[in-house]
Symmetry: C2
Subunit: 206 residues, 2 copies
Amino acid sequence: MRILDISMPVHEGMMTYRNNPEKRPRFQQFRRFAEGGVNESGIAMNLHSGTHLDAPLHMLDGGGTIDGIDPARLLTRCRVVDLTAVRGKVRRADLEPLTLAAGTFVLLKTANSYSDDDSDATVTLAADGAECLAERGVAGVGIDALGIERGQPGHETHRTLFEAGILVLEGLRLADVAEGEYTLVALPLAIRGAEAAPVRAILIDD
Amino acid sequence: MRILDISMPVHEGMMTYRNNPEKRPRFQQFRRFAEGGVNESGIAMNLHSGTHLDAPLHMLDGGGTIDGIDPARLLTRCRVVDLTAVRGKVRRADLEPLTLAAGTFVLLKTANSYSDDDSDATVTLAADGAECLAERGVAGVGIDALGIERGQPGHETHRTLFEAGILVLEGLRLADVAEGEYTLVALPLAIRGAEAAPVRAILIDD
């Protein structure tokens, strides 16, 4: 059993959405070893920084929260598809040639996995790409971008996915992962009432 | 495949170590749905609040950090043992009758799982209990207390476990889990250089 870590390490200098420094995690040291033999610290972070799972509440008024998502849905077979040749947005035309059975959790591997910069060149999922995945009945979609969409004021990509009950996993790192089938483990912290939560995501290559 | 969630939900009113309100997570809302169709929030939390994994750095000067722990060690067979009759501390005498093979990840189910109060009555692991687990060569130990020890100025329990390379998983909720064997999934957030990290922990009853 080979495990592939597909999570972003969490640290103060990590890449953030639109390189916004306010979205960087901050750390606080409460106790130091020299003062009693204990190191104890805390973190403050935006729930959408680093590898994280969105819940429908992120973009749907009154939508479902992260703690309402069945953990079994994040412990599942998945399919990594290589879209590293795509520039800009992953569109319907990029997804239609793929054989994606209903219930598949699909991870979109793009050029983003080879970049530590979040910019307007970051590859995202177009609204018509989201529609295509909804039509196929996929169970979830993961992407190696901190946001699965960008610059769409109506948030059509997120809304289409959430309205179809599709899970949205963001901030993956897939550079070392070949196209193929794996078991995905990506359980979100059980934050009550939240619209997202950080995740340690791995793939099992079995 | 039946999944048992053994994590504490994370929320502002959650139980904390010694009921210290400073150890409660705090939430911040950055964007609200009414102001642009997006809910976006953040969390500030002590890394030892809720269900979490300790790294050796917590109690060993220069010890290993949470991001240095191989994820494969937190995706493993485990054994839940029923110690709900124990009061005070789990001692060597409580553990010696158990058949614990080397390499076992053992979860100690105590009366704590039936209480939402953290107090001096909270059951912890005695230093001689930790010595017993080290002698058996267990791979990890989990407990349904926010701290596996209490009131030991030299932190002998943690130190004995860390010096033996034993993982320490705290803040489990085991009320609904029967004694027996399971698969444990408890991957910590990959926080660089940290002495602990929150975990969403589940058991798979297969």
